[in-house]
Amino acid sequence: MKEMTYGKAICEAIAYEMRRDKSVFVLGEDVSIGVFGVTKDLFKEFGPSRVMDTPITETAIIGAAVGAAATGVRPIAEIMFMDFIAVAMDEIVNQAAKMRYMFGGKITLPLVIRCAAGAGIQAAGQHSQSLEAWFTHIPGLKVVYPSTPEDAIGLYLSAIRDDNPVIVVENKSLYAVKGKVEDEFKPIPLGRAEVKREGDDVTIFATGACVSKAMMAANELEKENINCEIIDPRTLFPFDKETLFKSIEKTNKVILVTEENKRGAFSAEVAALIAEEAFDYLDAPIVRIGAINTPVPFSKVLEEYYLPSVEDIKKAVKSIM
């Protein structure tokens, strides 16, 4: 075991795949340095032929990655801030996601799109959003969201080896967070959730940076004799319903926490799945916690109010106990 930051883990995982497969390369804006420094060491090791700085050109970055993936290579395209993905929506939604289907299954698109999501660093309305629900809605895409350095490694290994377009959501507030990682890198199959904390009283389902918030809330609630179980799906599609439903079967209560604007969030889809398929397990209403339904504000005070907090989670748990 060794300790590593989330950002470094992403870099190490990509480097690991680039060493074993020459068809893997990285392209994006300023990736030789990186706004968050994630790909800097990749550039040092692999140079400009495999870590390509592009102009500021999101449409061409994703579109070119689609064309490259269709013709024999495995590009990893970086969208510096997830917000900028709006510029390349046609390339993702109408091209990458649908090409295989529209061509009758006769093409594969081994393509990874990395993007830095999430608020908490006062980056305001166009550099802070969590837009994962846009992509879980679209058939043809896989969506991955690691919450720890160890998961980032295993999920990246699988995402890069996958023959389908995979969007990896990275939470920028986690880049500097350290965690233990195994010495030997192993892929984590996409579509396998993890029980991050065991407990009998209530299930807290959380993604990305909300996993550690849920953990903090659970640790505090334990002092009040409330034992929370925390489920991190790790992959939003394919989605591991079984692990979640098994937990709810045990606790009979569930809180869903994500950093998205609550309206139309991925957590709403999960709530609907529970209501449709696991209703009999429930002894209390499903509670969803998300960001408030506004753009992400700049001021520290406003941004803190915007984001779901540890207190929000504790309050929600207590409301159904």
Binding site: S23, F25, L27, S49, T54, P55, T57, T59, A60, I62, G63, A64, A65, V66, G67, A68, A69, A70, T71, G72, V73, P75, D90, E91, N94, Q95, M99, R100, Y101, M102, F103, G104, G105, K106, I107, T108, P139, G140, K142, D163, N164, P238
Partner: protein, 327 residues
């Protein structure tokens, strides 16, 4: 530029095949046998064939919503195309794409595309892939005058130019972006002028002159293949049929269409073949007869082919996951 007799006959054959296929498609659509949106290529045949005749199977193209001609020019087989237009399971895309998404990746065809201007970055990415893999393949992006106003045009030509990617961007300027004439959708006459802003070569040719298209494409493709980077090649041409089948065409006159018919690329080539004794009338008649028969057989094949099973709709979304059926 000298084109061999054999090649010229093959060019004529492909151009005639496109014309015969498209006219049959128009007829079938009018009879209500075909559904959806169908955009025919009649009149523009010299562009697809003049360009693709310079490509190998290993080279790639991206096509447009008006894609049947590109497919045939790149080696697409008419019976699988027709079956796709009928939505049958034997079609190129098993009935999941239809006219606007018809594709054959095994022949280097990255698909027709329902989004105008979507082919630019995809072809650029294919070029990036070839350069990265150090192959001598070339990607050709077909697009129309309307698409040249999209942001994808700018982002792609810029990227291809700074990285010297082996991509040839072929504009089929048919004078209309859907219903809007070129003069009302852009200030320039020659779309190739835009090449200057990327520091690449821009050329405009008569797109109804197969020799002009072939020669310009040959130079551009050869340059790209040898690492010389992208070219913007504009071919000025015209579509005789509407933007889509059923288009009432209120935006142009019958006289305008007749004027262009007098410059028909197929008639022009046929005249050249006969006058220069490259081919005699009997041989041409036989060739045309065979193609007409092929198209009739394609229709028969499509009509007799089975529909897909409804639940096949769930397949081919991913390589490894089958979507859940409605409960």
């Amino acid at each position: 530029m000298k084109i061999s007799t054999e090649k010229l006959i093959s060019i004529y054959e492909k151009m005639f095949r496109i014309r015969a296929f498209e006219e049959k498609v128009g007829e079938l659509f009018a009879k209500g046998k075909l559904a959806g949106f169908v955009h025919c290529y009649v009149g523009e045949e010299a562009v697809a064939v003049g360009v693709c005749q310079n490509l190998d199977d290993k080279d790639y193209i991206t096509s447009t919503h008006r894609g049947h001609g590109h497919l045939i020019a790149k080696g697409g087989i008419t019976k699988y195309m027709m079956a796709e237009l009928y939505g049958k399971s034997t079609g190129y895309c098993k009935g999941k794409g239809g006219s606007m998404h018809i594709a054959d990746a095994s022949k280097g065809i990255l698909g027709a595309n329902g989004i105008v201007g979507a082919g630019f970055p995809i072809a650029t990415g294919a070029g990036l892939s070839f350069k990265y893999q150090k192959t001598d393949q070339v990607a050709v992006c077909f697009f129309g005058d309307g698409a040249s106003n999209r942001g994808t045009f700018h982002e792609s030509l810029n990227l291809a130019s700074i990285w010297d990617l082996p991509v040839v961007y072929v504009c089929e300027n048919n004078m209309y972006g859907e219903f809007t004439p070129q003069s009302r959708h852009q200030k320039i006459n020659n779309i190739s002028d835009r090449a200057a802003s990327y520091g690449i070569t821009g050329v405009s040719v008569d797109g109804n002159d197969i020799f002009a298209v072939y020669e310009a494409a040959s130079l551009a493709i050869d340059k790209a293949r040898k690492g010389g980077g992208p070219t913007l090649l504009e071919c000025k041409t015209y579509r005789y049929r509407g933007h889509f089948e059923g288009d009432p065409q209120e935006y142009r006159t019958k006289e305008e269409i007749e004027d262009w018919r007098r410059k028909d690329p197929i008639i022009k080539l046929k005249k050249h073949l006969l006058e220069n004794k490259i081919c005699d009338e009997t041989k041409i008649n036989k060739l045309e007869e065979n193609i007409n028969k092929e198209i009739l057989e394609a229709v028969e094949f499509a009509e007799e082919s089975p529909n897909p099973k409804p639940e096949e709709a769930l397949e081919n979304v991913y390589t490894d996951i089958i979507e859940e059926a409605r409960k």
